[in-house]
Symmetry: C2
DNA sequence: CGGTATTTTGAGTATCGTCAAGGCCAGTGG
DNA sequence: CCACTGGCCTTGACGATACTCAAAATACCG
């Protein structure tokens, strides 16, 4: 199920690598140009490995499109997902040793890869870039803490509700979930039930039951097994018990919806 | 239960603030001296607030002694622990906005506080310091991922086992748990059952049962409700199902005991 | 030594994990 | 074009685990 990219594979391209990554937009022009110089676009198909467990990756990456998942491979072969990477996220442990998890494409993805050496050299010269990286990591840390709060939920429906909310507050900002007809929000779950179960610390069957339980409660609607509509954000928020971790207002603003907009 | 430090409280002192924090030892002498200049030692008693939820703290902190806990305060007043800070850990969101959680002393603690302004100014001038901070945050990120793996465990005994292992692999290195007579390891749990329950996503009663369950299985011994002896590291590791997240060998090396040595 | 907070224990109920079977969809080959 | 096959999701029934409520025991503090 995991297709390792052969040497040189991964669909390397080379034009306008930074295009569309707005986090780099604020950098001074010369820095941005230099970054372009060491950047390559790589494409991965679903299931392809981006970084092997234990490797010190040869590049620092930034997701342009699609979703990657970080997972630890346990001794007995099982895999444990420790997080998702979505457009805008960076990975690769600047200045540091190997990753202790693998990264692979959860869906077809495109990343922007900066060769490690030159990138680190640039970091030393450009305080703006270094700060950008630092803030990026801080952000990731916050997200990890949010995950912790979600995982600390005692009921599966609560963890699932929290997951869905994070999925559209955080990931949605980039993945553009479009507001549906009546102000509902479409989200696309990027991983299988089994992976989701692993991520939320439960079993696929329980995920399935939780999904349908939320649907029966009218909080979500199931379009396909991988596409839901969030109908009752406040209900989901209450279910997830996370008044703190998920910023509902930001989400509603983002949707720019006069709620209940007719088609 | 939370004693807010009055203005100027927190037991500010001023001598040899960096003493004993070995992470700063590698910095160039002039940088270290300058850091000393902006550093102040603050002391907190158990339960005292170090940073209020939503505050942009006036200082960047580094724990010298004791344990702090990070917690989110929910709308309904409940508090949710999102992590612990132990000696060596830094906190305070350099270059960034307010923390979205509170920090308070879980046990009597001493921190080293750097005024934010001067510290950030130093960061811009000293690449060494900036890198130190960056690595520190990366480290914290790893720890957050380990927490995620622990929390994703389906059984309470598993989460507890993972917690205990992390408590001595990571925190123990500094908190010097001394190896007991037969190679067992003493650990001191720094928080109440209720807090631990919250942290592990369960209830105090279940924590209690899990503790005694591990004790009955011979994996730990209960000295007091807050002090255990870890008798069977491999058993705990298996129970926690974390071949990846917890580095047993490092722990045993640290303890300097031959693994499973027949007495 | 008494009072309070915390931990522990117990019994009953809800939730979840497990095992097994059925359904849906996509890809394959006749 | 259709039947077949394999993977995944879903559903059902039963046992294990964890939560709830209540009460008892223990530790902590003055």
């Amino acid at each position: 199920m995991v297709y390792h990219a052969e040497a040189g594979a991964g669909g390397v391209r080379h034009n306008c690598a930074l295009g569309g990554l707005r986090q780099f937009a604020e950098l001074p022009e010369p820095v941005r140009r230099e970054l372009e110089g060491i950047a390559r676009v790589r494409s991965y198909r679903e299931g392809q490995a981006v970084v092997i467990d234990g490797d010190k990756p040869a590049f620092i990456g930034c997701v342009r499109q699609g979703i990657l998942r970080m997972q630890k491979t346990l001794a007995d072969g099982r895999e444990h997902i420790v997080g998702l990477l979505v457009p805008g996220d960076m990975f690769g442990r600047v200045f540091d040793g190997p990753l202790n998890f693998a990264i692979e494409a959860a869906a077809d993805a495109e990343i922007c890869a900066f060769s490690r050496g030159p990138f680190e050299a640039m970091l030393e010269r450009s305080p703006e870039l270094e700060r950008l990286v630092l803030l990026n990591i801080l952000n990731e840390l916050d997200r990890a803490r949010d995950w912790m709060m979600i995982l600390a939920n005692r009921k599966v429906t609560g963890r699932l509700a929290g997951f869905l909310l994070v999925l559209c507050t955080r990931f949605g900002a980039i993945d553009q979930p479009h507001a549906g007809a009546n102000g509902a929000i479409d989200v696309k779950v990027p991983i299988s039930r089994a992976d989701l179960a692993h991520l939320l610390g439960t079993r696929p069957e329980s995920i399935s039951r939780a999904v349908h339980s939320l649907a029966d409660a009218g909080m979500i609607a199931i379009r396909t097994p991988y596409e839901f509509e969030l109908l009752d954000l406040e209900g989901l928020l209450a279910e997830s018990g996370e008044e703190g971790a998920v910023d509902l207002e930001a989400l509603e603003q983002m949707m720019q919806k006069p709620r209940r907009d007719p088609s």
